[in-house]
């Protein structure tokens, strides 16, 4: 088990190195340095500034310095938000994004699994068809189309919910962004769950359980649910990556002060260090999350669990 976890952890290191290297050299080849202002600075000041930020050193030294800083969690100063370091900005935005994304993922799993199970138990009934064609619609419509439509309907026409803002994470302000972010994943998990549940329900031990007189809900909950959940568990990694990406647009649309909004603003303002910091942070986040999912999968699946021991 530990063997497996450590092996996976080591496997993630090249990915992170590639990510950091690409980001570093992309920024370095970027036209225009960070101190290019409208007025050209006197050469002494320019030199001093470059010395302060170690821009006068050879490129490879800068690279290793940057690597060392990142390992210590230091992403350098933001060029746009002058009073903040990138680390501070990430620390501000991340809890907000985590709330939004975490709730969206939770909602996607809970509703997706429930709907998928219902559709599977009543396979080929009108319930099944209705759920699955709705799911296909949900999968096809991008979240940046769903979000404005939700606002148009629930906030502007019906005036039930606020159209945007965060308000310290008040639940009323959470409903629309979480819904917009999770719809696609609800739909996809429902389809995934239906497929695997149908397969599990056809297996012999389920027939045995039915034959000994257990009720259908009991069979589904006690015997079929856990094995049927395996594909959903392995989908959690891609789903989380998708939700993290999606939250960039959702935060923009709803004016949520999260990581994604800093990222887009940084991108539009060419705030190199901020953009680079967020990219690396998100890369680490996705890698770590995938690791957790893999370990969770190994815990749930005896085949992998035993393999790790050997």
């Amino acid at each position: 088990m530990w063997h497996y976890a450590i092996k996976r952890l080591l496997g993630a290191i090249p990915t992170l190195l590639v990510l950091i290297t690409i980001s570093f050299f992309l920024i370095r080849v970027a036209p225009g340095g960070p101190f290019d202002t409208e007025k050209s600075l006197p050469p002494e000041i320019q030199a001093n500034l470059e010395k302060k930020y170690h821009l006068d050193e050879p490129l490879y030294k800068q690279y290793f310095r940057y690597l060392g800083n990142i390992v210590r969690g230091d992403f350098g100063p933001s060029f746009q938000y002058k009073d903040f370091t990138v680390t501070e900005l990430i620390a501000r935005g991340f809890p907000v994004s985590l709330t939004l994304g975490g709730l969206a993922l939770l909602l996607a799993v809970l509703i997706g699994v429930t709907l998928g199970t219902v559709a599977a138990v009543r396979q080929n009934s009108w319930v099944d068809y209705a759920l699955m064609s709705t799911a296909m619609t949900g999968i096809s419509i991008p979240n940046f189309v769903v979000a404005p439509l939700l606002i148009l309907f629930f906030a502007i026409s019906l005036n039930w919910l606020p159209a945007g803002g965060w308000n310290g994470g008040h639940w009323l302000y959470l409903i629309l962004p979480v819904l917009a972010l999770s719809l696609r994943y609800i739909a996809y998990i429902a389809r995934l769950m239906r497929g695997s549940m149908i397969e599990v329900l056809r297996s012999d031990y389920i027939r045995t359980a039915r034959a000994k007189g257990l009720s259908m809900p009991r069979v589904v909950l006690k015997h079929a649910l856990k094995p049927a959940l395996m594909p959903v568990v392995s989908y959690l990694g891609p789903a989380a990556a998708g939700i993290i990406t999606g939250s960039v647009v959702i935060e923009k649309i709803f004016g949520v002060p999260g990581l994604g909004r800093y990222f887009v603003q940084g991108a539009l303002n060419r705030d190199y260090t901020l953009v680079m910091g967020v990219v690396i942070f998100i890369g680490v986040l996705i890698v770590v999350f995938n690791l957790i999912v893999d370990i969770l999968y190994a815990v749930l699946d005896p085949k992998i669990r035993l393999q790790g021991k050997g």
């Binding site: 419509i141 404005p148 148009l152 993290i244 953009v275 890369g283």
Partner: protein, 306 residues
């Protein structure tokens, strides 16, 4: 989305032995697949709808008296009206939305097509080489694919846009350069199983060069599967481009794409809901059709799923 459909297809196709496909090719598998596809009314309807969208996007602007970039301050945010020729109304700058939606469609579809082609060329070459040489070369090349696969792609593309400025060709290249990963996996799996078929060995015995064997003998046998896969790649690319344009990082004014139009529409939706609804409808219908066609093709090729 399509991405998720794709993951399943990548798995199925990468594992399917090519001999089996080959052996039946011509007589039964593709023929049967076509018969099954014809039975799938949703997929056929989607194909027809998609064709209509494409035709409309190409010839539609000819039937409008307006140009896509003419600003008319007298006609700002006018609702849809047939008499004035503003079939979908106008945007906040008085530009005709019917023509803009169709022009945006041209860009969106073109990005989808070109980036998919880029991914085809890279993916087929890379996958075929990895699969053909096998062993350490294969292990190394596929490890590279795994590493790239784990990168937060969308964020890197945005970083690229920030560094080099917005540029439609860069978008093509960046998207294509990422999408090829799946293609490389599929092609590699297929090549591995084609590697030891008689006709490849025969070509080797005749002294054909490695490059000739790969591109003349192996690649043509992969094209069927690649074609299926393309249906799933195009909508994914369209979505990525729309996502970037929605954030204001994609195509630049006065040019537009569906993502950019949805973005503008979302800003004016309180006073001009039509400026959101029409581009959103076109985008959704297109993605919807591609999804159903892709689903249908997959089911047609792999009926045990049903």
């Amino acid at each position: 989305m399509t991405n998720d459909n794709k993951t399943a297809v990548v798995k199925a196709l990468a594992e399917q032995p090519a001999e089996q496909i080959l052996a039946e090719k011509g007589q039964s598998l593709w023929h049967h697949a076509w018969l099954r596809l014809k039975q799938n009314r949703l997929a056929i309807a989607s194909a027809i709808i998609l064709l209509l969208v494409v035709v409309l996007v190409i010839i539609g602007p000819m039937f409008s008296p307006h140009a896509f970039d003419t600003i008319d301050w007298e006609q700002m945010s006018v609702p849809p009206d047939v008499a004035s020729g503003h079939y979908f109304g106008t945007d906040a700058m008085g530009r005709d939305l019917f023509v803009r939606t169709l022009y945006g469609g041209r860009i969106s579809l073109l990005v989808g097509l070109v980036a998919t082609l880029v991914s085809l060329v890279i993916g087929i070459t890379y996958g075929a080489i990895a699969g053909f040489f096998g062993g350490k070369v294969d292990a190394f090349m596929m490890r590279v694919v795994d590493i790239l696969y784990a990168l937060p792609f969308m964020f890197l593309v945005i970083l690229l846009m920030v560094v080099f400025g917005r540029n439609i060709y860069l978008i093509f290249a960046a998207i294509g350069a990422y999408i090829w990963l799946d293609m490389a996996r599929i092609v590699r799996g297929q090549t591995l199983s084609l590697r030891h078929t008689e006709f490849v060995e025969a070509a080797e015995a005749l002294g054909a060069s490695k490059a000739r064997i790969i591109f003349r003998h192996i690649v043509p046998n992969l094209l069927g599967i690649v074609a299926v896969y393309v249906t799933l790649t195009i909508p994914q690319v369209i979505l990525v481009e729309s996502f970037l344009s929605f954030l204001g990082l994609g195509v630049q004014e006065p040019f537009t794409s569906w993502g950019a139009l949805v973005n503008e529409g979302a800003q004016d939706m309180e006073i001009a809901p039509w400026s959101l609804i029409f581009p959103a409808l076109f985008l959704a219908i297109t993605l919807f059709s591609f999804n159903f066609i892709g689903d249908g093709l997959r089911d047609a090729l792999d009926p045990k799923d049903r």
